[in-house]
């Protein structure tokens, strides 16, 4: 099987067909997604770019099962999540997906280790084992020595590293990242992207990354450009890197 994006059917881990999402903002109807078709291969790292309000985050939410959509179909690793009940979808998320958000979304009341081990505990892993794996994940992102500190005792970059560790600790097959470097300075942003790319290469997880930053997008295998709820075009990594180098990316 071949998709519009040219992906081989055997490797497809995320597949979206005619996904439509409309919501009301006051009295105005906002057509956030107007029929998205997309396929992502296993281990692929895909960036989603576009101007504010084009539907990037809505697409990520719809594909990851965080949000419902009005019509269309989304299949993750061969499982149709479109009609999945909330409980199963939640379990599925806990097992198969990890999330990285721009605002970190760490629980301020828990330590770094506790934040990281939370997805494991939710999945039923015994607390002792969860703690061992959480510490391993923190070691992977270079924060083993900060395990017992709370988010407010960490810098922005360190917090995002904790978020990355939390996203990876469950060894999910897909990582969703919504503006993972949006709140960071450029040096720290580069560090985080290095980490995400390195982990993608090591763990072979599929990564979908929403960003405004062409430099971040250029680190991904391909970049999808969205406008007004539709996929406008796709660029390869080489094209993006070239564009960044010439300063012409948008």
């Amino acid at each position: 099987m071949s998709t519009s994006n040219g992906a081989s059917g055997d490797d497809i881990v995320i597949e979206a067909r005619s996904v439509v999402k409309t919501y009301a903002s006051g009295t105005v109807q906002v057509h956030a997604l107007r029929g998205i078709d997309l396929a992502v291969r296993r281990g692929e790292m895909v960036a989603v770019m576009g101007p504010s309000g084009c539907g990037k985050t809505t697409l990520l939410n719809a594909l990851s099962g965080l949000d419902d959509f009005d019509s269309g179909r989304v299949t993750i690793a061969g499982t149709d999540i479109s009609k999945m009940p909330d409980d199963r979808k939640t379990d599925f998320r806990a097992r198969e997906m990890g999330f990285i958000f721009q605002t970190y979304n760490l629980l301020p009341v828990l330590t770094a280790a506790e934040n990281v081990e939370l997805p494991l505990i939710v999945s039923g892993v015994r607390p002792k084992e969860a703690r061992v794996r959480a510490l391993e994940a923190l070691a992977t992102v270079g924060l083993r020595d900060r395990a017992n500190q709370r988010p407010n005792q960490l810098s922005g970059g360190q917090r995002q590293r904790v978020t990355v560790a939390r996203a990876l600790v469950n060894r999910p097959s897909i990582i969703w990242a919504d503006e993972p470097t949006g709140a960071l300075d450029s040096a720290t942003a580069k560090e985080i992207m290095d980490l995400i790319v390195q982990l993608n290469e090591q763990e072979h997880q599929t990564t979908i990354l929403v960003t405004h930053d062409p430099k971040v997008a250029a680190r991904c295998h391909r970049t999808i450009h969205m406008a007004d709820g539709l996929i406008e075009r796709e660029d390869s990594q080489a094209k993006m890197q070239a564009a960044v180098a010439t300063g012409g990316a948008s």
Binding site: T57, L66, L107
Partner: protein, 1126 residues
């Protein structure tokens, strides 16, 4: 109800209405000056409807409690007053024999007809007195021949029907009414009911064993004319007969027992002339053995006293709820401030001043305040109706009144106004606190960073903090203390002096700046300063007058005066001139000020032997230690925990430990509240300062809960990060639980002590016989009348003298004045025959030296010597409740006490007899045998006139209730009661009152529960994004909801467990130390675990139910939306 805490209700009403109007005027001024900020505040109210409803619900409680307390007092007052008017009708005063000054045998205490005639002649046509009526009466058994029913003790009154006149007004009659001729009798409704009387029935009156037939000619309402005098008893069987017939039956001479006096005017208006009538009649009686008793006036005064007592009692019990309510209001405004922070920051950024934020908050707060005061008023009326229903259901053992719910406009206005004022004050403080924010942090909704106070840890900063506190609160405290020590007027001024804190509201503006700069922020009202400056001068003048008039050191609280007058006055310029932006060490200042007040309180407590002031003073000084350690940054956790432990150690220590230093201090149920509030505060400090140590323990326990682990883990983490909220909520719940648990536990122990089977003393039935028809030998009389006497195992005889029949004194000593006295105090006496003394099962609380066993004491009494046994009422105790030292003996007994003597005087003859006290009976004996116990021969020697005969019967098993009925139906002159029934009645009345007070105090739980609701709703908003994240990483909806429920459960359980632990342990200390009652120290302590489990269960379940809604809302949050939320 005319008085509360010694203040006239009219004054309270006037002051509270005045203050409420002043509050509205201030708000109107704010609204007029800056309508935009005012509207902004008001428009916040409908934004979150559920939250608004919850806030109104929580805030209303103070009003509910006050409305219920005042309305209960008003109900008791109005019912009792109406009953008195109904019963006494036109009778305003009575003239009777003055036995106190003119000892004479009972049958000689009569007033000759000539005296009555002389009074009539003297006051004929008087403008204040409209009539006199001579009345004779006897207590007789009455039998209805038709129904075979009998009444052993009916009061039969007799008068000349031709002279009734105005006295008949207000008495409803059927049949021939007061047209009494021959042997006609007008029975009152109670006797008619008891004997199932119909007009025309023939009744038998038994006088000294001889029957006299009377024919019922009518039935009348209750009145002294129909034999009903007592206000306090529910059943007053009696009747009226023609005086000629009465004299024929009783052989009485031409005289009356009392003369009824009716003042000009109707039943109510006549009362106003009592003073004038007293002035006129008393001189006429000066050289006679008669006295004038202002019966109606005395009764009305007593009724008002009782109602005032009720209100005070409920207000004090309600203080737990009110205190929790105060905490809730504060908490709510902390929450609202947190919610509005970005808006407030933005408002400040675009030019709004702190004052504007305060005004906006006040507008919003007063919106809730008004709503809650109105809702509270209605709810309070509902609570009153429920409470009165419970009191009425307590039946005969209750108040002796069938209460009719009454609401007075004054009571409702006071409740409403006090609710509004209390809430306004707290909202003002909370608003000022909320307005002090960092603009940048507020806009970005970041945690408020406390600016480092450069004066923290310095003595200069400490002194400045103290002076500022003095300026803010010095007047208030000064006036309060003056109010208590000099005149209650100052207590009212204390409210006025709250302009002190108001100064600081103004200080938050810019009033001290030059006028041109000040105009940017609006005009500053100068008028409050004139008031403030005027008050100290006024106070000084009053002080000078006081000092020159009375130089006794104990009446000159010089230090208090100084604190109240000079320091605030010095503090005002300081407050006005100092740099507005410079932080003040308020808590250190408050602590130091508290310590000064504490020392004064200790001095005051020692001076007046009042435990309340002493303990409050000690607590304040201990708390001061905490604030000073904190100011100087000495390990906050260790110092606050240590100080709290010290507070607990003080309150847990029995008073006997302190007595060598303080002497005996007196305390009442206000100590209950003070101990509760201090201990719960200490407990809350310990919990909140050590939460980070306690929570991991809970979390570790939670880690064994499998799938629930994540919910428990997150739930346990949150309370830790919001210590103020958590602490306030734990304190609210803990306070109410402490009150409920302590009250229930102590009540259970007292019930067991007094209403256990021990109270029967081994007897099953008590039989009172009619005074005119005693029974020589009960079993023989029963046998002769055909009853089966085989169930009787033992029958013992005794005689009682009622209050006022015998008088006692402790020769040569008046404890009150600490000097010799001749004053006599009345006290009941029970003279028991040898059988009773030998066969009763009462134990001794204390035995005198020389008596090795209880049996020795009983044997000594039975020997016929002039020995006596006293009950708990005559030794030291709480005098305010009439439970201690009633004979002014100034004795505290203990085992092996030296026998002492008391002198009994026979008012009939003036003869005195010295009795030697050799023991004090167990408290359980005081339930049915209240009084001094002597042998029957001794009583007959001391007071041969004793006429109230009682028999005590022990059965060989069987149903005592049934056999009591057999005795009553067999002997016409016998009133028999089963002790089992009497105890059951008292227990059910006690349980009814317990339920009433538990319910009333439990109202406070509503506050704690509402607090949890408010916190949870706020948490859903605050944690929206975090909830989204949790859902994203795999938290099921149910787990999110569970996490919220666990969190509330954890906070609620902390409060509940603290209240339970402290309540039970404190009750144990009070009980075993003997601080409550000397007998308590010797009786095992029990805990009503079942009852406490129900109370705790209700508290926990209600808390969880309240959190259910926000928990459900949290679980339904759309994940993607929540993650986007900022």
């Amino acid at each position: 109800m005319d008085e509360l805490f010694g203040l006239s209700m009219n004054v309270i009403a006037a002051v509270s209405v005045g203050l409420t109007l002043a509050i509205f005027a201030i708000l109107a001024f704010f609204a007029f000056r800056n309508p935009v900020m005012f509207k902004q505040g008001l428009r916040n109210i409908p934004r979150r409807k559920t939250q608004t409803a919850l806030i109104v619900f929580g805030l209303m409680l103070a009003t509910v409690i006050m409305t219920a307390a005042f309305s209960t007092g008003d109900t008791v007052a109005s019912t009792a007053t109406a009953d008195i008017y109904d019963l006494l009708g036109e009778v305003d005063e009575i003239i009777q024999w003055d036995a106190q000054d003119n000892p004479a045998p009972e049958d000689q205490r009569i007033i000759p007809q000539s005296e009555l005639d002389a009074l009539r002649a003297k006051f004929a046509g008087d403008k204040d007195i409209q009539a006199f009526l001579g009345l004779s009466f006897e207590r007789l058994p009455v039998i209805n021949e038709r129904t075979s029913l009998n009444e052993a003790d009916a009061t039969i009154a007799a008068f000349d029907p031709a002279e009734v006149g105005v006295f008949a007004n207000g008495i409803s009659t059927t049949g021939d009414g007061f047209n009494l001729t021959g042997n006609g009798i007008l029975v009152n409704k109670d006797l008619a009911e008891a004997l199932d009387v119909q007009i025309g029935d023939t009744l038998q009156l038994i006088f000294e064993g001889k029957p006299a037939d009377v024919v019922v000619t009518g039935i009348a309402s209750l009145s002294p004319l129909t034999g009903a005098f007592d206000i306090g008893t529910l059943a007053k069987p009696g009747g009226a007969v023609n005086i000629d017939f009465f004299r024929q039956v009783t052989g009485r001479e031409d005289a009356v027992d009392v003369i009824l006096v009716s003042n000009t005017g109707d039943t109510k208006s006549g009362l106003g002339r009592t003073g004038d009538v007293e002035v006129k009649i008393k001189p006429e009686l000066r050289d006679t053995p008669y006295e004038l008793v202002t019966l109606k006036d005395d009764s009305i005064t007593f009724a008002k006293l009782i109602s005032s007592f009720f209100t005070t009692f409920f207000v004090v019990f309600g203080l737990f709820g009110i205190a929790a309510g105060v905490l809730l209001i504060f908490l709510i405004f902390i929450m609202l401030a947190a919610e509005r922070k970005p808006e407030m920051g933005m408002a400040r950024a675009v030019g709004a001043r702190r004052r504007h934020l305060v005004e906006s908050f006040l507008a919003e707060g007063m919106g809730y305040d008004l709503g809650s005061a109105l809702v509270g008023l209605v709810a309070g009326m509902g609570v009153t109706v429920a409470m009165i229903a419970i009191v009425n259901n307590a039946g005969e053992s209750g108040l002796g009144l069938n209460l009719r719910v009454t609401f007075t406009l004054r009571g409702l206005i006071v409740s409403f106004c006090l609710g509004v004022i209390a809430t306004f004050l707290i909202i003002t403080v909370a608003s000022v606190r909320a307005s002090r924010l960092n603009i940048t942090s507020a806009i970005r909704d970041l945690p408020e960073t406390k600016p480092l106070n450069p004066e923290q840890g310095t003595w200069f900063g400490y002194l400045r903090g103290l002076l500022n506190v003095m300026a803010a609160f010095g007047f208030f405290i000064g006036f309060l203390v003056l109010g208590a020590r000099v005149s209650p007027v100052f207590s009212i001024l204390a409210l006025v002096s709250l302009v002190g804190p108001f100064l600081y509201v103004l200080r938050g503006t810019n009033f001290y700046l030059p006028k041109d700069e000040r105009l940017q922020g609006g005009h500053i009202p100068f008028w409050p300063f004139f008031t403030v400056i005027g008050i100290p001068f006024y106070l000084l003048a009053v002080l000078l007058v006081r000092l020159t008039r009375d130089r006794r050191p104990s009446s000159v609280p010089l230090l208090v005066m100084a604190a109240g007058v000079i320091i605030p006055f010095v503090g005002i310029p300081l407050a006005a001139l100092q740099d507005r932006e410079r932080p003040i060490a308020w808590s250190a200042g408050m602590g130091a000020f508290g310590a000064i007040i504490g020392v004064l309180f200790i001095d005051w407590g020692l001076d007046t032997d009042t435990a309340f002031f002493f303990s409050a003073g000690v607590s304040l000084v201990i708390l001061w230690a905490g604030t000073i350690l904190r100011h100087f940054r000495i390990a906050e956790r260790a110092s606050m925990t240590g100080v709290s432990l010290l507070l607990l150690a003080y309150w847990y220590s029995p008073s006997s430990w302190w007595e060598p230093f303080t002497g005996k201090l007196e305390g009442n149920f206000e100590m209950f509240f003070l101990s509760g509030i201090t201990m719960v505060a200490a407990g809350t400090f310990i919990i909140t300062y050590n939460l980070d140590l306690l929570i991991p323990v809970v979390a570790a326990f939670g880690s064994r809960l499998g799938r629930l682990v994540p919910a428990v883990k997150t739930a346990a983490a949150y309370p830790l990060t919001a210590r103020v909220r958590t602490g306030l909520t734990i304190a609210m719940i803990g306070l109410i639980m402490f009150g409920l648990i302590t009250f229930s536990t102590i009540n259970q122990n007292f019930t067991r002590l007094f209403l256990g089977d021990d109270a029967k003393g081994g007897w099953d039935i008590q039989v009172f016989t009619n005074v005119n028809n005693p029974v020589d030998d009960l079993p023989a009389a029963l046998k002769a009348a055909g009853a089966d006497t085989s169930p009787i195992a033992v029958a013992a005889e005794g005689y009682w003298t009622g209050f006022g029949e015998l008088e006692f004194r402790n020769p040569g000593y008046d404890a009150a004045k600490d000097q010799p006295t001749d004053e006599y105090r009345p006290y009941p006496v029970f003279g028991a025959d040898e059988t009773w003394l030998r066969d009763n099962t009462f134990g001794m609380k204390f035995r005198a030296a020389g008596y090795a066993t209880d049996a020795d004491v009983w044997a000594a009494l039975a020997s016929g010597q002039k020995f006596a046994l006293v009950d708990a009422g005559v030794t030291a105790g709480s005098q305010d409740f009439g439970t201690g030292d009633l004979l002014n003996l100034d004795k505290e007994l203990s085992d092996g006490f030296e026998p002492f003597t008391i002198t009994a005087r026979n008012p009939a003859t003036g003869e005195e007899t010295v009795l030697t006290v050799i023991g004090q009976a167990d408290d359980s004996a005081a339930v049915f045998f209240t009084g001094i116990i002597v042998s029957l021969p001794t009583l007959k020697t001391v007071y041969p006139e004793a006429a109230t005969q009682a028999w005590y019967v022990r059965l060989n098993g069987g149903d005592s209730r049934e056999y009591a009925k057999t005795i009553e139906s067999t002997l016409f002159q016998a009133s028999a009661e089963s002790f089992d029934k009497l105890l059951d009645d008292q227990r059910s009345a006690s349980a009814g009152f317990l339920l009433l007070f538990q319910g009333f105090m439990g109202l406070g739980l509503v506050v704690g529960i509402a607090a949890l609701g408010v916190i949870s709703f706020r948490a859903v908003v605050e944690r929206r994004q975090q909830i989204g994240m949790l859902r994203a990483i795999g938290f099921q909806r149910s787990m999110v909801a569970l996490s919220f429920l666990f969190e509330s459960g954890l906070v609620a359980m902390s409060g509940i467990l603290m209240g339970l632990l402290m309540g039970v342990s404190f009750s144990w200390v009070l009980w075993t130390s003997g601080d409550l009652d000397a007998a308590a120290g010797t009786t095992p302590f029990t805990v009503p675990w079942m009852q406490l489990a129900v109370i705790c269960g209700i508290a926990l379940v209600s808390s969880l139910l309240m959190t259910y809604l926000p928990a459900r809302a949290a679980s339904r949050i759309a994940v993607a939306e929540a993650l986007r939320y900022e």
